[in-house]
Amino acid sequence: MEPIVELGRVSFGYGNKPVLENIDLHLHHGQFAALVGPSGAGKTTLLRLILGTLQPDRGTVSIAGRSLNGGPAPQVAYVPQLETVDWNFPVTVEQVVLMGRVRNRSLLPWPSRDEKRRVQEVLDQLDIGQLARQHIRDLSGGQQQRVFLARALIAEPDLLVLDEPTTGVDMRVAETILHLLGDLNRRGITILLTTHDLNAAAAHVPWIICLNRAVIAQGSPEYVFTTETLNQTYQGDMLVLRHEGMLFVQQKPHGHTYHDVIPHPVPGEVPTSAEWGIECVDLPAPKGAV
């Protein structure tokens, strides 16, 4: 089957500064993927190339078999980072969601009865049906993220692209958002997101793409989240822990030791990883450990 996103040897730079080099990437219909990498790795730039708002210096970008030549990608919806939104802009939730229908080319400024019904359906689907007339500033972080998700969904996209949907919200909300995205993916929407939250990505996203100017690795979290791959991606000292079938990733603090990373239940005694029920992957035993 033809991939929905296809990047062939794509390179891009801002001025003389290369940001992405020789990116080969395929996303197939129905995939749920996360782009991870350090700040400045080119994640947002890669999203913008896929969205068609940037053109590659070299290589090709195709969406659903159609090459993008500086135009917007068809049947793609985008949820931007919350911090880029002007929260003082005078718009209600309903007005924001209706923006997603702009492709319908309705010449009337006001929504049709059908559009209003559709807006309410999408809002209900995301459990924010009662907020249609609220100003966007008056919502919680999780509700705000759902509003922009609703705007994307009303466009009935094949591909949903999200830039750091879990940034700026607490862990519980981030968990809910990723769970919601999982549900949408099960309904057939291909999803690509960027995130800095590796633990949430490991728990919820089945396909991880490690990026740092080039694609370092891609695959399931179990395959990709190894100290070797993450050290290469983040150019740092990463710890990967497994506990009850879950993966946890932690950046080793500079100038600190293993003792600072895992707290001691009894002062003066260092527990073994087995006592904690944690399998340490690629982690040398600290000095003094039993």
Binding site: P72, P80, D86, P90, V91, V102, P109
Partner: protein, 277 residues
Amino acid sequence: MFEPFQFEFFRNGTLAAVLTGALCGLIGVYIVLRGMSYIGHGLSHAIFGGAVVSFVLAWNFYLGAGLWGFGAAVLINQTTRRTRINADAAIGVITTASFAIGVALISRYRKFTRSFDAALFGNILGVETADLVVIAAVTILVGLMIFFLYRSLLFTTFSSDVAQVYGVKTGWIDTLFALMLAAVLIASMKILGVTLIAAALVIPPITARLLTDSFNRMILLSTAIGAGAGFAGMYASYYLDLASGATIVLTQAACFAIVLLITSLRKRMGRLIHTHV
């Protein structure tokens, strides 16, 4: 009460003031929300340069000044998009240089100086039928463009980058907006003058913004405030024997001050009640 309406100059002036007030109030919403408040001030100065050039070259005022203003607006837009120069700096350079061309030409051809008083300070009482036709035509044109481009304009104003992803041709929208803005400024220039247009573009929308959190209502309120202040300002200027353009702007400013006071008091009262409950 109806005494001033027996004079044709007053009837023409009032109609012109109401239409330009509504027009500036309408397009001003987009200017304020795009964070371009300074462009009204700058572009009206740029158009003044164009007006002088078209006078010297014996071109039609509306055509010459219109093309000049549109060119300046597009140049500002392109400079901001394609370079690292911010919009405020681009407006400062391009419009001031354009205004300076006008001033330089006036100083070179001193015999024209008096003709540009109306362009600088407005001459609402000297409004002729031809001016009214231009204002009415621009009002209808801009009104229709905003009506039919309403959704794309709103999305582009809210978030230009994202609108592009959803299929809005933001480049075209920006160009059309520059064209509309230039047309509004030229139609308003003879009425309010270069020095007062900026206020008419900014005060009604920010007053409306204080009153509502809805974009649709902000559009309606800002247009109504602009038109209402145009009418009230004209009426007051007749009895107070003040310059009409200045009285219109002062009426808008008074309206803003009253709304600001009321909304601030209401907010404080709300906080007090909330604290004591």
